[in-house]
Symmetry: C3
Subunit: 334 residues, 3 copies
């Protein structure tokens, strides 16, 4: 991984600060939040995708860096334009390990993305935080339903439910995968923000809408039996208030453990959870950066915690502005 | 169909502009949007239904035209009051063909409603736009699950799922109907607005909540097996950002095809779609006018595209105001 | 039950007015609403739970009364601080009958909570209001699916579906319970507010998300068969406009019947309903106070009815302020 000092030196050369990201995933709200806070934006974009941003003028980036493929982005161009990268799920998916050595300031701690990428490290991070995690099973141990997850953040596409070793062999074969105990309950995705100016904020909660799982009863009625979990959309939810303190503690514990393991996570993150009928919370994933569900602007929790008209994309811009003003950028950029 | 010139002449006689609609479907937000833009409103209403609007003073129309039955509305009274009709689903349901000859200015192109009314024309419109459409099958061809749809916009009431020709004969008999291939996935209803001042905007996306389909797992658990699709409510959803450009293109393609087929669609419309686990989008219907789901005010896409506090009902009022000011009403009223 | 006169005398001693409630259930929005209206707040809170409110500074109560257990709250301390209690679901759950004799002013009519507590009285209230209610069955009469409900407002936890007398004996045994006919449809929870200054307002509608019922299709796919109904979260929904007048009438009818039975219900309440595929509405419960689902701030109905930025917690504060100013507090506090 590129040494922190190299990134610090890049940052020292910056005359101004621009917010840069791939035009994908949660870019709409990242740009919109920056714009509301008066920060210029750079969109790393394919020619085709540019059409999308033209249609949403209030969130269209001020500058575009056109690329043919997100895998080939030339970060020196971002540095030349004084850009700080806001990482999101598409970075993890398209760039993967390349991000480790990218010569560009990235908001947050890029080490956290290493932990997100590697499911076993991620689960150990959750366990070190003292959070309930579904049991991970070896293929031969499968005696009750498991969800089989493949590496990368591909939005849940192609994760099968498997009930036995036999079924595992047929559906998964020798592919690299992690089998997690299937927990029956309701999924809830809390959106946290760890600020160096005051600790962990809980700014919203949503639920992903997955195809065809979330309309699977229709499919059952039509005689189908293959469930799948491709993320298609998100919707805002409001937790039962008695669960909220547990979620606050989960956010704190994840941050606390991250400090011990790899020097801390800064800015937005999400802990993917499921709540059982006994109101127990299981976490099955961490997204160590902004998640797409935060595209739902304006959740009541953000208003309770921070004030009206606040959302993750804007919260990032607020944090960067203040860190710049107070000369603390190096603490939150790597 | 009444000649366009007759409508143009009616419009020439108008001293002012009022927004008129049936007090049903999406009238609450149509009136509210008009009020926010300072346009007077006329509610065509039954005596009974008037009680509803009394309860929501911020959206109560300025004037009421009381009718016994929506089928019997006397449009000359709307013309006498300088009203322009905003068509919605209840016009299609209650007035049907009568709308073709109605001597009253209607916002949009009344030809588009002819295409909405006739499922085969509607499907050919979608196909001409190059959009994936579920296969339509003749009763004898039914070998896998189909949804059988009857004519009219009755909110999905009584559409059966049928898996064979035998079942079709039992459940549908000789009634006029279209059998569409059942697509397993997540429904998404994008709310478009085609403006003469700048093209197609995407101002929100929602999902209908259908009884009992959307709580059908409960019914299954209780031992029931008959699924049905009566629209009861709507909820806002946020699409995965990677799907958004596809939806922008669908909106454009529908408008483009409409120009070729019948002179274009203006103002709000919706393309009813379903997203499969492979992220393919199928469109199974067009609503060639405002849809009820837009009663969810304030979707983030409207804010990205247009600005804060915008929603379809208000967007209509903004468009009409500007067209009036720039003397272009005839382009968007028929 | 403590005589109304005693409460009136307590109120006469108040120098100012503060809003007090248990730090649970819907307290976040009750405090937030009070704060927006400039009313001081008192949080009755456990030491542990206080941490939650520290995290949401915009809704943190001005004063805390720390208790070890919500069952042991000393109301004289609330009176000493000029507090009026806003009752919510946790009062019903933790204090139950104790609330009847509590020497503290409570917003609304505490008699309504007696009716909420006793399922048979509650159902007779609904029937007197002329509202469709699912049939209540004696265990021996069970021939089709019923939901078995136990006393108290425990958020739906542990309510089994039972299809026969045999199954009832196994799953319920001799516990006190009410068996209600299972109605297949979509649940909708309208949020009403009965104001002494103008009657019943409909300020929002939501749907509870229950574990594991609302993701039960997943569980079915994984081979599970036990459905359960623990409330985990809530989401906003928008009703089909044609149902809205029915909901307005349901609110009116519940208030009208309450006047006859026990002197009326004031302030917020909810009627838990289910809408069938034939668009018939069945009510299966009344919550005679604010419900947790109203934590979704800003529903379009509130905007249509009252104006922008209104929600139940704030509406309560608005009502109390006006009643204080117009010296009508005694009418709405008992």
């Amino acid at each position: 991984m590129i040494p922190k000092e190299r990134i610090d030196r890049l940052l020292e050369g910056y005359k101004e600060l621009k917010i840069a990201t791939l035009c994908s995933h949660s870019a709409l709200q990242i740009f919109y939040g920056a714009k509301l806070e008066g920060i210029k934006t750079i969109g790393i974009c394919t020619k085709e995708k540019k059409k999308l941003y033209e249609r949403f003028p209030n969130t269209k980036p001020d500058e575009f860096v056109i690329v043919d493929d997100y895998r080939d982005v030339d970060f020196s161009e971002i540095v030349a334009r004084s850009g700080v990268i806001i990482p999101h799920g598409s970075f993890v998916e398209y760039l993967g390990k390349k991000l480790d050595d990218a010569e560009v300031p990235i908001y947050g701690n890029r080490q956290s993305l290493v932990y997100e990428r590697d499911r076993e490290r991620m689960l150990s991070w959750l366990r070190k935080a003292g959070i309930n995690v579904p049991k991970t099973m070896k293929p031969k141990e499968i005696k009750k339903p498991v969800i089989v997850k493949f590496p990368g953040a591909k939005g849940g596409r192609g994760y099968p439910i498997v009930k036995s070793y036999e079924e595992y062999k047929n559906k998964v074969g020798k592919r690299k995968a992690v089998a997690q105990e299937f927990i029956s309950g309701i999924r809830a995705y809390p959106h946290y923000f760890n600020s160096i100016f005051g600790g962990v904020e809980l700014l919203g909660v949503d639920r992903r809408i997955e195809s065809n799982a979330d309309e699977f009863a229709r499919a059952i009625a039509a005689g189908y039996s293959d469930i799948s979990f491709t993320i298609v959309a998100n919707e805002s939810i409001i937790l039962r208030e008695s669960l909220l303190l547990d979620y606050v503690k989960i956010g704190d514990a994840v941050v606390h453990a991250s400090k011990k393991i790899f020097g801390g996570i800064f800015g937005p993150f999400c802990v993917e959870t499921i709540v059982t009928p006994d109101l127990e919370i299981y976490a099955f994933e961490i997204s160590a950066r902004i998640v797409a569900g935060t595209n739902i602007l304006y959740h009541p929790y953000a208003e309770f915690a921070y004030g009206k008209d606040m959302f993750i994309g804007r919260r990032i811009a607020v944090e960067l502005k203040r860190a710049l003003r107070e000369k603390r950028m190096k603490e939150i950029v790597y």
